[in-house]
Subunit: 216 residues, 2 copies
DNA sequence: GATTGATTAAAACGATCGTTTGAAACAACT
DNA sequence: AGTTGTTTCAAACGATCGTTTTAATCAATC
């Protein structure tokens, strides 16, 4: 566990907030896990809301690089960029160097309208949308940015986010072994080919016979 | 407002639970809006959790027909069925006859593992997955049901759910007018064509020049 | 009209919530 | 050693939580 109390509190509280929600976590529960006194929260963060804000800020500051202003290799085609974009989104959830609660907390904040939500969208989501929009522009150079391109972007991101937001459902539907047979490589490949084919920039999905994993 | 207190409590509490979460809503707040006494909750539902369960049950019992065991017209091709499936999923959110909180509450319950979540998946989601699986089977008759077909199904559903789960983000990204320019018809058409093209059962998406709505 | 059972109402219960208090512990410097 | 400023601690604060209690109200039956 971390040495200083402020860090410990943020890590413990962030995980709890992400898992159960702001109101469902008491500061006594947090402080007990963080081996701190209850007054530590108010002393270091002002109040509970301040601790929550600190968690959110910490999660945002640790976000994965490469989604907002990525630097692609020269040789990359638009298809390669799309594949890299999708992979990085998927990796963001599974990155072992980063606690899971970071993105969980941010996704929780994004799911309901608030001032924090707006700030997050502008500083975090909007650049991603711009990156994806540039890739789209490369796929359809002659066109303007219309409602349809928003929908295409949402089709890409929606597929990726499904595996992060609906994890419990997937686990029940596919079973534990079926769920754990999903890999970043496999998902990246599927989603990328699915999207490219839909956009006329790749061969349609070909269904292959049952492989080693039987998911019934 | 409804006549009997039990119904009023369920409607008021369900809306609040769906919007803010179980722990963030007090029974005094609920009873005030429902014009009931605080003791009414414990009298009619045992305790707060009982009221919550009643809300969940009510939401589930009012679910839209046609997703679990749909009856397609004889003339429908697999593509037609897929389109109808997607449309009904989209309509489920926008159905004016049904309060929004019904699906919001269910989606909230589905987002975290619990016994209720498992029951919901088995009674509500699994049949939908089966319906979608049958459509897939019709598109690829010779194949067996493998991990890949799960991923294809998730690609379909993920696109639809995005518009329900990420509504605040979409609203901020596209702006209010841009968001409100999205129609069930338009979304159904886009997602259906996107999926069919990806699966090699339709022409790829063609990007058209800017239409009447400028969403920048 | 009295009685019975079901429902509503006001008040209070103990528990827990976020927060504050005031003193103790600690470190750094004169 | 003494002083100063910072951090930690146990205890308690008032407020609110879900729940219970007790009495009042109502409807129906004898």
């Amino acid at each position: 566990m971390a040495e200083d109390i402020k860090t410990r509190l943020i890590e413990v509280a962030g995980e709890a907030f992400a898992a159960k929600g702001y109101d469902s976590v008491g500061i006594r529960e947090i402080c007990q896990k963080a081996e701190a006194n209850v007054a530590a929260v108010n002393y270091h963060f002002g109040d509970k809301r301040g601790l929550y804000r600190a968690c959110l800020q910490h999660a945002q500051s640790c976000r994965v690089e490469g989604l907002d202003q990525p630097v692609w290799p020269e040789s990359y085609t638009a298809a390669d960029k799309l594949r890299a974009f999708i992979r990085r989104m998927l990796e963001e959830k599974l990155n072992p160097d980063r606690p899971e609660w970071h993105q969980d907390l941010m996704l929780r904040e994004l799911s309901r309208p608030s001032e924090t939500c707006r700030e997050f969208v502008e500083s975090y989501i909007r650049p991603m949308a711009h990156t994806l929009g540039d890739i789209m522009q490369e796929l359809f150079p002659q066109q303007e940015w219309t409602q349809q391109k928003w929908m295409i972007g949402f089709s890409v991101v929606g597929q990726v986010l499904f595996y992060q937001l609906q994890q419990p459902v997937i686990r029940i539907l596919m079973g534990d072994e079926g769920f754990e047979s999903l890999t970043v490589d496999g998902l990246t490949d599927h989603i990328t080919r699915f999207c490219l084919a839909a956009l006329g920039h790749g061969e349609p999905i070909t269904v292959e016979p049952a492989n080693s994993v039987e998911t019934n």
